[in-house]
Amino acid sequence: CALHRGAPSCGSSARLTAPTCVLLLLLFAFVSVASASRDDAPGGNNETGRAPPEDSHHHHQQTNSSTHHKKAFPVLSFNYEHVRQPFEISLWILLALLMKLGFHIIPRVSNVVPESCLLIVVGLLIGGIIKAIGEKAPMLDSKLFFLYLLPPIILDAGYFLPIRPFTENMGTILVFAVVGTLWNTFFVGGMMYAVCQIEGAQLGGVDLLSCLLFGSIISAVDPVAVLAVFEEIHINELLHILVFGESLLNDAVTVVLYHLFEEFSHADTVTVGDALLGVVCFFVVSLGGIMVGAIYGLLGAFTSRFTSHTRVIEPLFVFLYSYMAYLSAEVFHLSGIMSLIACGVMMRPYVEANISHKSYTTVKYFMKMWSSVSETLIFIFLGVSTVAGPHAWNWTFVIFTVILCLVSRVLGVIGLTYVINKFRIVKLTKKDQFIVAYGGLRGAIAFSLGFLLTNSQLKNMFLTAIITVIFFTVFVQGMTIRPLVELLAVKKKKESKRSINEEIHTQFLDHLLTGIEDICGHYGHHHWKDKLNRFNKAYVKRWLIAGERSTEPQLISFYNKMEMKQAMMLVESGSAAKLPAIVSSMQNIQPRGPARPRAIPSISKSREQEIRKILRANLQKTRQRLRSYSRHDLLIDPFEDGLSEVRFRRQRVEMERRMSHYLTVPANRQEIPSVRKVCFEPEHQVYTYDTDGESLRGRRASHSHPSASDAAGLVNESTRRPDQSGAAEPRPKAPDDQEDQDQLTLSRCLSDPGPNKDEEGGGSFLS
């Protein structure tokens, strides 16, 4: 079992099931406390809980009896060995998830303390319990960590990395990652060596190289910890990407330095040549990692081009190619993290254009899910390992490590910002610098790297110090960063309403700035970005994106996405479709013309078409799209544009049927499910919506791909709202005719006093 240090043998199965027993007990206790009733879990637990004491007995009995005489056919037998390993793994994961569940049920605690802290505490508790009953607690095995627990988190981070802020701040991020980590390493290493020279500390056995090695382990900012803490505080995009980007990119530096010092500490002499090789190694590691990732990413994109007939396995390609990229990079001791990031970044735009909507949702869900589980497990294991591991506490060493880490981080950030600000357009303020310095959290990567050390004499001392630093940063810094952010009034993440106006102007601005740069003759940032985009469009997209999507300009695809999203929301919610509000709004902005359809005399086919055309021709209601990198909510997704004609027709028929009932049957909640029946795919409802009939302005009919020019529009009806009574015009009585239907619907809605504001309607649509 990867979780256990020693190899278990058959006879000791009873001993090793004891930790499982403890877990079960804990699970049981927690489960019964945290929720009202969970009948299945305790039942199952009880059964297996009872079993272990009988295990050895049965085992014994069976071996005895089988040799003597024909034993009776065992009606009920117990064979735990068979499933022990997967059982225990599942139990750990289940425990971790139940903990996570518990924290979110108790809101008070989770507002003050970040989740990572709580999980570590839980880990400590479990470790304590296990130790108390005399068992050997599982340690965070480095192999397990690096191969199984870390990749999902990094993949999630890399795949959903916001490209624009990342590339805009790339220079800053690189400087922080490379130079900052180097500075930290040498400062901490050097100073620790100086400290070790102090007479009274009994640290004489620590030589310079070991100190430098220690420095390299402890100096890297950890992406897992940063993600866990920063997610919850919602600071603005710039700071988030700076700290987070730094934590991702410093992996290359860490890998190189670690291996370098590890090698050197075994070698006798260190020459300048070795140091130069180290520098070369750095470039090889980082660029090699990126290249490997990019290759796999392109392969993945290319493969996704052909998956239109086997949609079910599409998500797997994404995951497998990324994982292969990571593993391949690790084979050559290149930077696995950078490879994974490069793969995700490379793959994403093309894969998203190719795969189906369902696959996209699957990919997103699974990534978030795995990374969430991984993160939880990592923190719990950190806690358990703390209790379990061999410790060698040395006051001087540990205290100085903590202090030096803080000091070097602060000095590093200040110094680097001073230099960086000379090159930045938007300078980093003191507040920004503080947050960047304060956000330099250490985490499980440092621990695992420390664990891999071979020199056992110093290893324990180092591990203790590393754990102390991790605890300090995660607990102290993690807990206080939120109030500090409030106190300093750091700009928070604005809820970006990706309105179509903003999109238009973003593009416009891009072109404008490129043009101005060209006029100035200055080949700046925008110029190269523009060149890259054009290259991308001309050559790459054609190869990697299937079908006509490859030539779609960004604005169009954005627009389509929003429309689809609208349409889906409309249909799903089934509420207030202001079909006539649309018409009226349209009238508001169109120039006054002679023919303005106010009252529609009769419903004929042509009129229907016209209404549909009007609906189709416009209407944009933007929704708030929470750009969040958080584990807890997912982006709202646009619908795939491959809506078949059949479905449209079916819906149209449904709608007409419903419209004929409209005024005779008062619209109430019960009607909504029937609307949902004709929905495209109700299981796409990954968000909750406001179901108390809050209507929104400007409804949109679904609009498929521009090339399908005669796609049928969707006509939704409005449910009658109770608060529509304030209409100025008297509502005419309702005859049962189809034609009068529309007229009435139109006139009623035209007289509508006005829907609620955009923000309220938008905000409630997201989970």
């Binding site: 106006n501 238009i504 102007h505 072109h511 200055h522 300009p553 627009y559």
Partner: protein, 193 residues
Amino acid sequence: NLRKRFLQLSGNEETISREHLDTIPALAENPIKAQIIEAFFDKRNQRGDEAGAFQEIGFEQFLMVMCHFRPPTLKMTAEEKEAMRKEKLRFLFNMHDTDNDGTITLEEYRKVVEELLSKSGAIGQETAEAIADAAMLEVASTNVPHMAPDEFYEGITFQHFEQILKGLEMESRMNIRFLDVDTTTMRCGRSTS
């Protein structure tokens, strides 16, 4: 620096005209080339309240247009940043509002979107119109929430324009790194006072 570039563009003359800017090869790919060039010659982008367009511009006017793209410094107060943002938004507004009536009408907006999409292949005019209409509707609905059906939304005024693009933080985005920042900002500052 900019002076040298100006002379280079104008062929060592004192003024440049539209043709000079037209011939820049890198601009050929730009979908909104015409608007950009026009912006240089637009009188509204100079200080003062004139309207109309120049036929040729001198170095001072050239520099004045460039002033719109200077980045905010660390020392600026919030009001100065706000003023800078207004200035940049004004520049954009002038680019859209070609007939100088103070509003961006639907037609003008449609033209903007059309131009943006012009270099991207064969896009139907309908789509461009649809996008522009949608955008217009959005502006209308955010700024004038309770519009009766009889009302007619004339066009995007400058206030609405500001409101709509508030989220983009123009003062941080609409910037070019200048080769010699100090002289440029000095001149810009001098011209305002």
